[in-house]
């Protein structure tokens, strides 16, 4: 039995831990020269080294080392002056070597932090370590009803992904988030993703697995001093899922504990469709991995002068950039936070860069487009429309060629694949009627059809003009300039506004 979230939080306090894996966007793999392209045909990006053929030896990719150090620096970590790769032994066909080259007690970067904001409050997330390892191959499980590993008859493996450099970022346990645990987890992963993007080290696409998150949750009774047993939830493939997985695990664990049960330390599997977790394999103990220093690779000893250079050359980090943009755009904390949550900041920034006023750019992305993204469950950035196109629409509105209603129709056309904003205006005939003769003719018709209202206006009841303007807009199918129509109507009726 699960426990309702509010009830669970009344009785228990959650402690979070997040392990995030980032696939680096290097050209070649971590220890060999194979390509790293996503979605290539199976086993076309493999060689003797990443297939573990006899005699092949790994050599570390300089760019991957550099990216990992830059990530560590961006997360305020110390950088090891000397460290080794380690061999993690386990029997599983996703690594052809029967081990994964990783790091154990000597991570390249350690002891950092980042600050994230949730509802205007700053939460500091301490980073325990950032280490470098290699990604595993991709198994497909055949047979059984669900395509999952349980119940499968056999598996088939594609090693294209095996050996792609993978950075693991591990937080220290995060107590004290209380009922905001799900939001804090999401804010943290969002922030990490933006930091990775700003560094240009990964394309961090959760849906393609280049950013993956394991969510650790434990509960303790309120007032208790000792933390509970944690579970680790995998297969959390979107920011929304991070939030849902934390929430669902809190509810589940609270139910187990309240019913007198105990939590087993295990790996759990998140299900996107139900938003719940089910047990996976029980975790092997660290000692079962029989870690030892990787004999095929010599130690890494980054020159402190080089590290200082990398630090000095870090780009403006997202939190700093957000503060700058907020000041430039003159937005409130709340508006900025909403844009951040909607993943709209970069889009708005690009739209402003393309010439749109910030207020307009924000209005479209956070209004009409956010609504569309929401309806179709598409990330805002994946909508088939570009910041440049939004900027063009705002330009058309500013010049009086479109009003807001027509602008919305133009956006709809662009989203429907009808071409650029100008194409849509042309094809759908959406230009405002600013031909005075045409407008005048429409007004005459409307006045003739609404003699009563026209008389009212003539006799001084100016308010009645609204109905007439409405009639003109209707007759022009929204394409008239309402303000100009009002002026002309009053003029024709001999009333001064």
């Amino acid at each position: 039995m699960t426990m309702v979230y509010d009830e669970a939080l009344e009785r228990f306090e959650p402690v979070l831990g997040l392990e995030t894996h980032v696939e680096l966007g290097t050209n070649s793999k971590m220890f060999c020269g194979c390509r790293t392209a996503f979605g290539a045909p199976a086993n076309t990006q493999v060689c003797p080294t990443c297939l573990a053929l006899p005699g092949a030896l790994p050599v570390a990719n300089a760019a991957a080392i550099e990216s990992t150090i830059r990530i560590g620096l961006a997360l305020n970590c110390s950088i090891a002056e000397w460290c080794r790769m380690a061999r993690k032994n386990y029997f599983y066909p996703d690594m052809p070597k029967n081990y994964q080259i990783s790091q154990y007690d000597e991570p390249l970067c350690f002891d950092g932090y980042i600050d994230v904001e949730v509802y205007g409050e700053t939460v500091r997330i301490e980073i325990e370590r950032v280490h470098l390892e290699e990604d595993t191959g991709k198994s497909t499980h055949v047979g059984g009803a669900t395509g999952r590993i349980h119940g499968a008859d056999y598996s088939i493996v594609d090693y294209n992904r095996a050996g792609i450099p993978l950075v693991e970022i591990v937080t220290k346990p995060i107590p004290g988030t209380d009922r905001l645990a799900p939001e804090v987890a999401r804010a943290y992963v969002t922030e990490l993703r933006e930091i990775m993007r700003s560094l240009g080290v990964s394309d961090v696409r959760m849906e393609e697995g280049s950013l993956r998150c394991d969510v650790n949750v434990s509960l303790m009774e309120r007032g208790a001093s000792e933390w509970g047993t944690r579970t680790e939830t995998k297969n959390v493939n979107s920011l929304r899922s991070v939030e849902r997985a934390v929430r669902s695990e809190i509810e589940r664990q609270a139910g187990v504990l309240a019913g007198g049960g105990r939590i087993v330390q295990e790996t759990r599997h998140f299900h996107e469709d139900t938003g719940t977790t089910t047990p996976g394999r029980s975790k092997e103990e660290a000692q079962d991995y029989r870690y030892f220093p990787e004999p095929d690779l010599v130690p890494i000893a980054p020159d402190p002068a080089w590290v200082a250079e990398l630090k000095a050359a870090l780009p403006e980090l997202p939190s700093v950039r957000r503060k700058r943009l907020q000041a430039e755009w003159g937005l409130s904390d709340l508006d900025m936070q909403a844009m951040h949550n909607a993943d709209a900041i970069e889009l708005v920034e690009a739209t402003v860069k393309a010439g749109a006023p910030a207020a307009d750019a924000r209005k479209w992305w956070m209004g009409e487009l956010a609504r569309r993204a929401n309806e179709t469950a598409t990330p805002l950035a994946d909508l088939p429309i570009t910041p440049e196109q939004i900027a063009r629409v705002t330009e058309l509105v500013a010049s009086g060629a479109l009003n807001d209603k027509l602008a919305r129709e133009v956006l709809e056309g662009v989203l429907a694949g009808e071409g650029t904003p100008d194409d849509v205006v042309e094809k759908r005939g959406l230009k405002i009627v600013n031909d005075e003769g045409e407008l005048s003719a429409i007004i005459d018709e409307v006045l003739a059809a609404n003699a009563d209202a026209a008389d009212k206006v003539r006799s001084g009841k100016i308010a009645a003009v609204g109905a007439l303007v409405g009639g003109v807009m209707k007759a022009s199918r929204g394409k008239a300039d309402a303000a100009r129509a009002r002026e002309l109507i009053l003029e024709k009726l001999g009333v001064s506004a």
Binding site: N43, N61, A62, A63, S155, I156, V298, P299, P302
Partner: protein, 99 residues
């Protein structure tokens, strides 16, 4: 006196997915014991001022530039595989004993 128990050998065998008979467990326990004993002798002479070493080469920072090199073709890659399906390595059921 044996430092390695039979249970420990059985545990290691399970981690490596090796099916060992009872006789083999005893046999390997004795052998592993001898290995551990030999390594322990090295520890006896280890001095405080000699750090444990993991590499024979006095080298650090051996890197390669991030350059793509020719991969194998799928045919070459799969040529040694006992079973192939859909250009992938076909392997026996993975979680059989845990499911």
């Amino acid at each position: 006196m044996s430092a390695i128990t039979r249970d420990e050998v059985a545990h290691l065998a399970r981690l490596s997915r090796l099916a060992l008979t009872d006789d083999e467990l005893d046999h390997y326990a004795t052998q592993l014991d001898a290995i551990i004993e030999s390594v322990a002798k090295v520890a006896e002479v280890a001095a405080e001022d000699v750090p444990p070493s993991s590499h024979a080469l006095p080298l650090t920072n051996v890197f390669r530039p991030d350059e793509v090199r020719q991969s194998l073709t799928p045919e070459q890659a799969l040529s040694g595989a006992p079973a192939v399906e859909d250009d992938r390595f076909r392997v026996p059921r993975i979680l059989g004993e845990e499911a």
